[in-house]
């Protein structure tokens, strides 16, 4: 569909993408690619996916016209409420799609990586739903800062394995998941949680998340009379909620797409996860993309208060959209995000995930014309972050 911004037959978005995987994973990736291309036109698959999204996830997620936000910022602000999905974030959209693929591939065991725990919870959930074994890799440090989600995964029957190598966060959990897959190529499917990894993952995850903008367009048409807003905003860790939110607007060049990265303590402080500001082109987790690295090509430890944005790269399609200037990549600091999260509580009665609060924070830096329509992806709810909010604000 998106010829200009889409993927080519080898898995590249312009200069980015591909499948930089060791030979051990080649048969798996090849089987996955073939199966993915097959289900794209498979009515049974589509019917089952749609049904689960409707009855199990609770889609469509509302497009909520946030009136007090609109007053404050002088534009019509809409929240796309992925936080209201079952399990509390957009991650479930992808997990449902991939578990159905895994079933069709005859896989009996599912592995996943997780940062904030939202993808781990989503994966554990769909595994419970399908009665499949589930192993989730999570950085040791993230297990501490997202403890409630660790317990949730266990309740759902998943085994949570701490990643103790390297920085003990999301990137290392991803390494561990890849290593597991190398050792268990036959019975296992790896449900990657963001629009990253070797082709076909970035494309497949984007497709499963594209439901977000598919619905938003229709909802905008109903509520504003036009399916095209002036601005679309989303936070970016690996980039799955953002690409899902952008997907169906990519070819509508009048729509300004804004991706908000985590600046951590500030882009130049050495404690940041603002990949497009700090990164260079290279290869991470099987894809050619932009990543934070030293001059010697060693991956740099990112930092963000939000575990879900604490990733040193972005998906290859984002790298492409950045390079060709189709989307604008900006960042918000820890403090800006936390304040934006509190504002959403107080103005709209919504506690957003700290990840999503990064997108909200960018509103402070924008100027609008009256009547502008602005859609923000509220990718997840803040229950998992209550501890962090409470400590920060002293409630």
């Amino acid at each position: 569909m998106h010829m200009k911004y889409g993927v080519d037959e080898h898995g590249y978005y312009g200069d980015f993408g591909g499948a930089y995987i060791p030979e051990m994973l080649y048969p798996n990736i090849e089987a996955l690619r073939a199966q993915y291309l097959k289900v794209l036109d498979d009515d049974d698959f589509k019917a089952e996916y749609d049904q689960l999204l409707k009855d199990y996830v609770g889609r469509p997620s509302p497009l909520y016209h946030a009136k007090r936000y609109s007053e404050k910022y002088g534009a019509n602000i809409f929240f796309k409420r992925e936080d209201l999905n079952h399990t509390g974030s957009h991650k479930i959209n992808n997990a449902i799609g991939q578990i159905l693929l895994a079933e069709r591939l005859g896989k009996k065991r599912i592995i996943a990586e997780t940062g904030a725990g939202q993808h781990g919870v989503a994966t554990a959930t769909v595994c419970a739903l399908k009665g499949l074994e589930c192993v989730v890799y999570m950085g040791e440090i993230d297990m501490e800062r997202q403890a409630p989600n660790v317990a949730r995964m266990k309740m759902l029957g998943a085994k949570v394995v701490p990643a103790t190598s390297g920085s003990k966060t999301l990137k290392d959990a991803t390494n561990e998941a890849l290593r597991d897959w190398i050792g268990n190529p036959e019975d296992t499917h790896y449900i990657i949680g963001s629009a990253v990894g070797p082709y076909p993952y970035p494309e497949m995850v984007a497709k499963f998340q594209s439901i977000i903008s598919f619905e938003a367009k229709k909802q905008l048409l109903e509520q504003t009379g036009s399916e095209l807003p002036q601005y679309v905003l989303a936070c970016v860790g690996g980039g799955s909620n953002a690409i899902g939110m952008f997907y169906n607007f990519l070819d509508d060049e009048t729509v300004k797409l804004i991706a908000v990265e985590a600046a951590g303590k500030g882009v130049e402080t050495g404690h940041s996860a603002a990949t497009t500001s700090l990164g260079k082109e290279g290869v991470l987790h099987g894809t050619r993309t932009i990543l934070m690295q030293t001059d010697d090509g060693q991956v740099v430890e990112p930092y963000s208060i939000s575990a879900g944005l604490d990733y040193p790269g972005i998906g290859p399609q984002h790298a492409h959209l950045f390079k060709v200037n189709r989307a604008e990549y900006v960042s918000a600091t820890d403090d800006e995000a936390l304040n934006a999260g509190l504002l959403a509580c107080q103005l709209e009665g919504i506690i957003p995930a700290i990840e999503s609060a990064h997108a909200l924070a960018h509103l402070e830096k924008m100027t609008f014309n009256p009547g502008d329509n602005v859609v923000i992806c509220l990718s997840g709810r803040g229950d998992k972050d209550l501890d962090t909010y409470i400590k920060h604000f002293g409630y």
Binding site: G18, Y20, P22, D172, I182, V283, D296, G297
Partner: protein
């Protein structure tokens, strides 16, 4: 012909290659280790350059890489050390590592430097065939560097044939689909796989690696291939006291002198 091609033309059986991570356990012993290995009878060497995120490696090589990075090993430092390589070492040498440090160093600069210091080939586990052919093959060839491809028990026959066509020194057979350092269980399915490859009568010699850690696994590998590669077991050896002095014993335990 590079040194690798000459070696394989002259010696067909019981080849032994050793992998070690440059900069581990100390920054500046890379060449001392290489010299000791040659003197102990190793037929060729794989010198690993460390990477922060080695997804195809198990804990032993991961930890050696972390330590090497802490010690300050970089591609610049390694090439500086290797300037004296050909004054001290005559056997073929391969560099082994992940693609990202090479991308940052610059592929042309990397290949030129490697050729300049007398490196004969490169093993990059996360550089797949499509990307190699499209982006890298010409530069490798211009610098007379052999690119080594991996084959696993799950690699299709068609793909093995393609790898055979693209290779010009040897093919690296993985004993199983695993990361480095896992223990090899010599099951019938592995023997079937070795036999299947042998029966394909490939143009290139084959060397078996991953999980070769002692005389028994080495001998088994040599029944079906031209030789074997020892990695994690040797990296473990480097963690012991007097590891330089005892390298001859290590080699002798894997492949006893006749």
């Amino acid at each position: 012909m590079n040194r690798l091609q000459t070696l394989f033309a002259n010696k067909k059986n019981n080849l032994l290659s050793i992998y070690f991570t440059a900069g581990y356990p100390e920054l500046n012993t890379t060449l001392d280790i290489a010299v000791a290995l040659e003197q102990s009878g190793a037929d060729f060497l794989e010198i690993g350059f460390p990477y922060s995120d080695p997804v195809a490696d198990g804990p032993t090589i991961q930890q050696s890489s972390e330590k090497a990075l802490e010690n300050g090993m970089t591609l610049n430092v390694l090439f500086e050390q290797l300037k004296q390589l050909r004054e001290r070492v005559t056997i073929p040498v391969l560099l082994m590592g992940y693609i990202n440090p090479i991308v940052q160093y610059g592929i042309e600069r990397f290949c030129k430097k490697a050729a300049e210091v007398g490196v004969d080939g490169v093993i990059v586990p996360d550089l797949p065939i499509y990307e190699y052919e499209k982006l890298y093959a010409d530069t490798f060839k211009q610098n007379n560097l052999s690119n080594i491809f991996l084959v696993t028990p799950n690699t299709s026959e068609e793909r093995i044939r393609k790898i055979d066509r693209l290779s010009n020194s040897f093919i690296y057979l993985l004993s199983s689909s695993s990361i480095t350092g896992s223990t090899l269980n010599v099951s019938t399915s592995i023997e079937d796989y070795y036999k299947r490859i042998k029966a394909m009568e490939l143009d290139n010699p084959t060397i078996i690696g991953f999980g070769i850690s002692n005389n028994a696994s080495y001998n088994k590998a040599c029944e079906y291939a031209n030789g074997a590669i020892v990695g994690s077991a040797f990296v473990k050896h480097l963690a012991t006291d007097n590891h330089l002095q005892t390298i001859p014993d290590f080699i002798n335990n894997i492949r006893p002198k006749l």
